[in-house]
Symmetry: C2
Subunit: 218 residues, 2 copies
DNA sequence: GTTGCTAATCACCGTCGGGTGACAGGGCTG
DNA sequence: CAGCCCTGTCACCCGACGGTGATTAGCAAC
């Protein structure tokens, strides 16, 4: 039988060539998915045309053809970021009544912390942002920033920050702290002497974060 | 004359071959200096044997011989970090009397912020730390962490944190915030919607930081 | 001067990266 | 069926990288 013959001739190669369907749309999706997975798992160090093509199991030429190269692919990734943040961070207030601005920020901070912890791709992008300053990264950073601020805006509702404090600056510091905490933990399991491995460790970090929020916003 | 002849023959090359002295110690220092400068200016993306050798103006073989490769060179860089932090961050209290733990942390936070802002190499190392998790980076991170904690210890003196608060966690968050703020600013001139370019911008960030410190430590 | 040590360089290898042009093959139209 | 367009693949170029062996050249002791 032909099948047996083929199996006997090349037993080490992929036994099923998977009969690649000629479907541009599907291939495009596969490539984009591969790019995101690769970025999430390997980081931006080894991120490139060849790596994505290998991962996607297709020829790199297709990336050039369908996305116009790596830049276009990254741009497409950025375009996904908005919908993607919407998917991963809950919109509701978890049944809580957010009476004060402090309540709101505390909840948002913890939500953001958790979301970032659970999200390798987002972490990589954040790490990328602070490591390089190329056009690619700027695009990605802008997309992420926009998605984040839109989310914050949506969650804020009608609550206004207390007078007399620079809420933009304070919140930027809080976000910075959360991002660096998560990045540092993901990279080395600790940050500035604070071990961040077990859920208990994160419990402590969350408590401290809440304390800080309450300290400034009451 | 021989010199004129050489100049006539190769006018485009370095006109003065610089008469490289045969001095191993000096060469080692040159290499180390080049490595640090390169890392500070270009970042870890393009950091490698060839780049360092080019920058140092010597053959890469010497890096292998004297430092046992890039790893050894990085290790040597890490060894310098301690003395180097000592050099760049003032030890005195600037004539202030630090009466409370809050006074202390506020001052340390601002000192650290300023020192990191002024220090490209340290910034690159921090960025490297959160971007990769290789043995090299771990070594470097450890050296930096040790230097930082020693400095904190020295500055702390006899002041103790208030009871009832997890000072380690709080301070880790503060350090994380400062690091990410500076990194983000260096990369893109802003952080989470907060523009960080002019001294006035940084003024606002410092004010917010002080407010946070005072909020938790009084 | 001759010899020996070693600092410094040169030349080369294999590998991998980005990028491009040519080619094979399926599926649809006439 | 013949033609064509489009998807997918292959083969190649160039350059940069990490790494290594052989080679040159200066200094010092004899």
């Amino acid at each position: 039988m032909l099948i047996d013959e083929a199996a006997a001739v090349a037993p080490l190669a992929a036994p099923v060539p998977e009969k690649r369907v000629r479907d541009r749309g599907a291939t495009e999706k596969t490539i984009l998915k591969a790019a995101k997975a690769l970025l999430a798992e390997e980081g931006f160090q080894n991120f490139g045309i060849n790596a994505v093509a290998r991962r996607a199991g297709c020829d790199k030429q297709l990336i050039y053809r369908y996305y116009g190269g790596l830049n276009g692919l990254i741009e497409a990734t950025g375009a996904d970021l908005g919908t993607w943040v919407r998917d991963r961070i809950p919109e509701d207030t978890g049944g809580m009544f957010l009476l004060t601005y402090g309540d709101l920020i505390e909840r948002l901070a913890l939500l953001f912390l958790e979301a970032l912890r659970d999200d390798p791709l987002m972490r990589r992008i954040v790490a990328w942002e602070v490591s390089e300053n190329t056009e690619q990264v700027r695009r990605l950073a802008e997309a992420r920033s926009k998605a984040l601020s839109q989310w914050l805006e949506r969650m804020r509702g009608s609550l206004a920050p207390p007078k007399g404090v620079d809420a933009v600056a304070i919140n930027a510091i809080l976000i910075a702290a959360i991002q660096h905490l998560v990045l540092s933990a993901a990279a080395g399991g600790q940050c500035a002497g604070l071990v961040l491995k077990t859920p208990k460790d994160w419990e402590k970090a969350a408590t401290a974060l809440k304390r800080i929020v309450r300290g400034v916003y009451g």
